[in-house]
């Protein structure tokens, strides 16, 4: 979008300094209408043009033109206005910060929300997956103007990939470990079912078929979740949690577990840094453009 600065040299009484009227058309990206009008001294005008990134030679040309003809038009880089900032806040920065703060809590709690089918994290996702598809262009605009932030996003997504690889390896090591499967079998005898008050498989494992039992239990060991009482698996998990968590120290598993912890710590550290970067950017944009961080009603549910 074109941003034009219209400058007019005003008639000044003899003995007074020359003033210039500047109309900044499209300062906030408006497509039409009147721009903002301000009066400048010659020094202030030179300073303004310099701040806008105009080369010295172009400034001299413009001042020369003003002296000769009394007016000049200068094309400048469009400035990011409050409407763009508002859209960034509402569609990208605020939702991302919320999601990343949630992700950090999950990483710190070490309940990684891993699911074995499909192999993924329920609540840890690449940056784009944290946002609605329709707002991706705003994300791309921010990335375009902030290459360092783009790199930080890429680092986050690589962390997610690496952590997922580590967790998949840990889950596989667990669910295929003969000692682990033997332990699971010993916890799933008819007598054990009876103690849980169950007779059928689905009463303990819900819709998960018997063939998924090792995978599901290994998933719980990896995530170490606090299960609500209304979960089918809650009784089994709460009863056997300690003995099952001890399997993370099995010789064939321990190394994978340590790698996973290391990756989770690395992800948490990068995540913390990314949150700080995003908050700094948001603060600077807010103060720089007089745009509130939030209008407070972005997620207001329907009445």
């Amino acid at each position: 979008m074109l941003r034009l600065l219209h400058i007019r040299k005003e008639d000044s009484p003899p003995g007074t300094s020359t003033t210039y009227t500047v109309i900044d058309n499209g300062r906030h990206g408006e497509k039409s209408g009147f721009g903002e009008s301000c009066a400048f001294t010659r020094e202030a005008l030179t300073s303004l043009l310099s701040q806008e990134g105009l080369p010295s030679s172009a400034i001299e040309d413009a001042l020369g033109e003003l002296d000769e003809t009394g007016s000049a038009q200068i094309e400048l880089q469009p400035r990011i206005g409050p409407r763009i900032i508002r859209a960034w806040f509402d569609t990208v920065l605020n939702p991302l910060l919320q999601s990343l703060e949630l992700e950090l809590k999950i990483l710190q709690k070490r309940n990684l929300t891993f699911s074995f089918r499909p192999e993924k994290f329920e609540l840890i996702r690449p940056i784009r997956r944290l946002l609605e598809y329709s707002v991706w262009p705003n994300l791309e605009q921010i990335e375009e103007l902030n290459p360092a932030l783009k790199e930080a996003f890429q680092r986050h997504d690589k962390d997610v990939d690496r952590l997922l690889d580590a967790v998949i390896a840990l889950h596989t090591a667990l669910s295929t470990d003969p000692e682990f499967t033997k332990l699971c079998d010993s916890l799933l005898t008819p007598e054990q079912f009876e103690e849980l008050g169950a007779t059928e498989h689905y009463e303990v494992f819900g819709a998960y078929p018997p063939s998924d039992r090792y995978n599901l239990i290994a998933q719980y060991v990896v995530n170490n979740p606090d299960q609500p009482a209304y979960y089918s698996t809650a009784k089994f998990w709460n009863r056997n949690r300690e003995i099952l968590l001890a399997t993370l120290q099995f010789p064939g598993v321990r190394k994978r577990y340590l790698v996973t912890i290391q990756m989770a710590d690395q992800s948490a550290s990068d995540n913390r840094e990314l949150i700080r970067t995003l908050k700094d950017l948001r603060r600077d944009l807010s103060f720089g453009h007089d745009v509130p961080l939030t209008t407070g009603d972005e997620n207001k549910p329907a009445a």
């Binding site: 949630l102 809590k105 997956r129 819900g206 819709a207 998960y208 209304y230 997620n299």
Partner: protein, 181 residues
């Protein structure tokens, strides 16, 4: 003193209406969020019986206790509309809601059955209900009739009234929840 009006404390099999499943999914969404130190939302969208922690716990345990929970695929179809229009969830929250919901549906072994419009239309009694209460509710009544089990709903005005009229066992949430929680 609490007096229980529970009609059948051990429902083995029941058809679950979308409003009931929707309430359970909201409560589960809130539970997971609270575990992550995030505020519970949408409590005001729930039946008054489910707006207090005691009622919520009773309800979720009641749901858990029903061994076979039947729904029609229409119910799942209705859920997305409810989530978008009543909760207005979007972005990451919407993704999370479905992640948690899928897990709860698996945990509860919710049995989703297809009741096609052709089947409903082929039955003289059910066909006449389609235009009265819509295909989803008609499907639930068909499912209850086919499995000789009750329907559980919060919808007294439409679904329950029609169920009782055609002698399908229909239990309202308020009939299943102990009074005086």
């Amino acid at each position: 003193m609490k007096t229980s009006r529970r009609l059948d404390p051990t429902l083995h099999i029941a058809v679950i209406d979308s409003s009931i499943l929707f309430s359970a999914l909201i409560l589960h969404f809130n539970y997971v969020n609270e575990q992550l130190d995030r505020p519970a939302k949408f409590v005001d969208k729930l039946d008054p019986l489910l707006q207090e922690p005691g009622g919520q716990e009773t309800f979720m345990n009641l749901m858990r206790s029903i061994s076979i929970k039947l729904i029609s695929s229409h119910v799942i179809g209705e859920l997305q509309g409810l989530v978008q229009h009543r909760l207005r969830l979007k972005g990451d929250d919407l993704s999370n809601f479905w992640e948690f919901s899928v897990e709860l549906v698996k945990q509860w072994n919710v049995d989703e059955r297809l009741i096609s419009i052709s089947e409903l239309g082929a039955d003289e009694h059910l066909a006449s209900l389609i235009s009265l209460i819509g295909p989803p509710d008609t499907g639930l009544l068909a499912l209850a009739h086919r499995n000789s089990c009750p329907v559980i709903t919060e919808d007294e005005k439409t679904l329950a009234r029609e169920a009782w009229r055609i002698h399908v066992d229909c239990r309202l949430l308020k009939q299943l929840m102990p009074v005086g929680l």
